[in-house]
């Protein structure tokens, strides 16, 4: 069965600093990868996704993630965070081989002024 590991449960960072949220997955077959964001007291929203093609994918609000097949990773990065980026971020892995989408445990990003 697929598993997804988010290595950091909490990441505190100062405003305008860069940040990386780490995600590793276990599947050896064709994989789809997703990052979701959950703002306080809200549902999960898709931030970005990798299905195929370019290994670097970007969101509209400045986040990017890179699919690294050899390291089975899909880390999320932003070069300069804002207070408004404070949220819980979930990595998820799926695919077209019948595997259910599997979520990581989440990483709480806390941006300090």
């Amino acid at each position: 069965a697929q598993s997804v590991t988010q290595l950091d449960s909490q990441v505190p960072v100062f405003e305008e600093a860069p940040v990386e949220l780490r995600c590793n997955y276990s599947s050896s077959v064709s994989v789809y990868l997703f990052w979701y964001v959950q703002y306080p007291n809200q549902g999960l929203q898709l931030l970005l996704k990798y299905l195929s093609g370019s290994t670097l994918v970007e969101s509209i609000n400045g986040f990017e993630a890179e699919f690294n097949k050899s390291q089975t990773s899909f880390h999320l990065r932003k070069p300069s965070v804002h207070i408004s980026d404070t949220a819980e971020y979930f990595c998820a892995a799926g695919g077209n081989a019948g595997n259910m989408l599997t979520f990581g445990g989440g990483t709480r990003l806390m941006v300090k002024p």
């Binding site: 997703f34 549902g43 999960l44 898709l46 996704k49 979930f90 019948g98 989408l101 979520f103």
Partner: protein, 112 residues
């Protein structure tokens, strides 16, 4: 498209009461899911459905029941509510099992 809608947004139950959490999607997705999220924790899958008339247990099904009579609706039933069921409940849907899931806004349930 409204996407995935859930009702109610909030509910307080007494121990032993029962209730149904409603979930509807208008994207014609075959797959639907119910998750619970406890404070500061990740998502735990309660039940899922791969199409009308077909449901299966997830990681934490005890104390819950589901039905799927139509493609659009996937209600979650709590029988004999217990304090351990205090949580936020999310419904989601997807085109297929490994594809992107679309989430509803959640139902915040408190059992006292």
């Amino acid at each position: 498209n409204a996407g995935v809608t859930q009702t109610p947004k909030f509910r307080i139950l007494k121990i032993g009461q029962s209730m149904t959490l409603q979930c509807t999607q208008d994207m014609n997705h075959n797959y639907m899911y119910w998750y619970r999220q406890d404070p500061g924790m990740g998502l735990k899958l309660i039940y899922y459905s791969v199409g009308a008339g077909i449901t299966d247990k997830g990681e934490v099904p005890n104390g819950y029941n589901v039905s799927r009579s139509t493609t659009e609706d996937f209600p979650l039933r709590l029988e004999l509510a217990a304090p351990s069921q205090t949580s936020v409940y999310f419904c989601a849907s997807s085109y297929s099992s490994g594809f992107e899931q679309f989430f509803g806004p959640g139902t915040r349930l408190t059992v006292l």
